[in-house]
């Protein structure tokens, strides 16, 4: 990753990637928007 990212942005990136990895193979997926919003709001707020 680019070195000049804030820790919050890093956290968002890592958690979103992990979330997507875990969901990769699921047939039925719950709406992801809420999960992503949660990740962002937890990182900054």
């Amino acid at each position: 990753m680019t070195p000049n990212l804030t820790p919050a942005v890093r956290q968002i990136i890592e958690r979103v990637l992990q979330l997507e990895k875990d969901r990769l193979d699921r047939k039925k997926n719950s709406p992801i928007n809420d999960d992503i919003l949660k990740i962002i709001k937890e990182a900054i707020g």
Binding site: M1, L5, V9, E20, K21, L24, D25, N33, L37, K41
Partner: protein
Amino acid sequence: MKLTALRLCNFRQFYGETPEIQLATDRDRNTTIIHGNNGSGKTTILNAFTWVLYEKFTAAFAESERLVNNRAIAEAEIGTAIDTWVEVAWEHDGKRYRAKRMCRAYKQEAGVNIVNNELLYLYIGDADGKWLHPQQPPDEIIGRILPASLHQYFFFDGERIEQIVRQDKRLEIAEATKILLGVEVLNRSIRHLGEAKKTLETELAQIGDTTTKDLLRSQQQCQQEIDKLQARQAEITSEIANFQQIDREIDRYLLELTAAKATQLQRQELERAKATYQTQLSQAQTAIKQLVSTQAYTVLLADLTGDFHTIVGELRDRGELNQGISREFLSQLIHQQNCLCGTKLVPNTPAYTQIQVWLSRASIAVIEETTMRLITQVEALETKGAEFWQAIDLQQQIVATSRAEIGQLEISIDRLETQLRQDTNAEISNLQKRLDEIEIKVRDLTLTQGQNRQQIVHLEGQIQSLAKQISKQQTNQDRQSLANRRIQAARMAIEELSTMRDRQELQFRIELEQRVQRIFQTISVTPYLPKITEKYELILVETTRGIETTVAASTGENQILSLSFIGGIIDRVRDWSEQKLLAVPASNTFPIVMDSPFGSLDQLSRRQIARILPQLANQLVVLVTKTQWRDEVETEMQSKIGRQYLLTYYTSRSDVPADYLEINGHRYPLIKSSPNDFDYTEITEIESR
């Protein structure tokens, strides 16, 4: 993912429970060979894996009705259940896994009924030795280790491997490649973050405008207005004072003017009287206000006192207010057994009975006392009411008198002023006119003061409400600032992920392409070159005179291409995850389980593949026939073999052809005669020397 063991029970050709097939997991000796003739169960074993993990079968495998072993069905009694299952054990990321899929069949008259085909049990064991049933669905856990959409690249039928690279399957491969390169994860992350960012932006728009600056300015303006007004008030006060000063001076001057002296003196006296009455008037009005606020209540008590008198009257009528004779007194008499007059009080005598009657009527001392006191107080209140009215009447009288007097005095004063105004002496009349002017001016100024006062109150109210709005704005501003920071963070995350994705796409695709090319060219003698297009399609090209054209490859060439692709993927994914560059499912090692892989290939290709695959794969399980296990393949793979197994087919045919496998000087039978009417397969381990 490293497969460790496999066991079958009543699965197709395998009757009863097989022994546990241990797979080679050593880093150097990572290959397991399972020998068997056609029909002995090699494809079955491949499908055993895919059935447990993904409930999927390869194309060559028959329908699931024939999953259950025939002999088990035949031997079962009608109405009983036959259990068919397969158990797979593997290791991944430091944990051990055991999955078992079970299928239960019931034997009926007409045939066999399959029920409960869905049962999949998964247990995860940690280093501490405990086996736990996981919370999440097993297929999700498995999907995270090796996604179902990718499984056919790692568990495949060697005779049909070229299907992977068929024209109509290119999209599938493209999708799979994107997943394996981590590009898919990045694409989805970018897309979903973008959607989330839009949501945040919508939320931001709903918070509202930042108008704090405007509000503050309005506040300032109000304050400035107030300051101006207050300054003006002060000015007015001093102006009035000035005018009053002039007024007094003129008055004095008029006095000195002998012609006006008498009139002036008179006027001054009248003014003084008027002032006195005005004071009287205002005092009386204050007194009225005072009386009303402190004593007016007394005239409102009429109803209450009326009720009180009624109650007291009722008490008296019932005889419960006998003054003077209390219960306590009578009780004492009875206790003494003597009346005051000396009569003995003996029960059942007339005197005693009389006392008792009085007792029943006598009041309790406390009630009587309280009632007496209340009566006194109520009477006092009633008097107060009358007194109140009297006082009010008096004050109102004063008010009326004062007003009348003031009225009269004003008429007289006015008459005198007119006199002075119309005096033939110009000086006098001018002075009086001047006084008139001053009076008007002072009156106007006083009115203006009143207006200003009202205006100031109004402005102060506005400042208050603006202050409330500002603090509300502050909250909004904070929320806006937070929303903005979040949107900013989302944007930066999207940017970074896009950079990662572009880099990964370019770099990984190229690296993968190069690896596949190198593998392909090691195996194949053709001048063709594998390519992975920007759309992630896997194609074979040849360059003739500088122009690239897609090759219509043969089955063999496609087989090599497929195997090169798989090998390339495994190799690169392992490398990238070691460098922590990858956003993929965490599996950085994939096993390869292949069934009959060398069929259509020529000797050279077979040799090359046999040499490369064990190097590329972390773990290899190969199911081969004797023909496929020819010299060159055996030679190349020999050093990597960790375990070997033999599938012996028991045939019910009477004429049993002899067929042996020779390994390390020993002969192993591939076919044997069945002791009963059934065909089945047994699996045994071939011991290494």
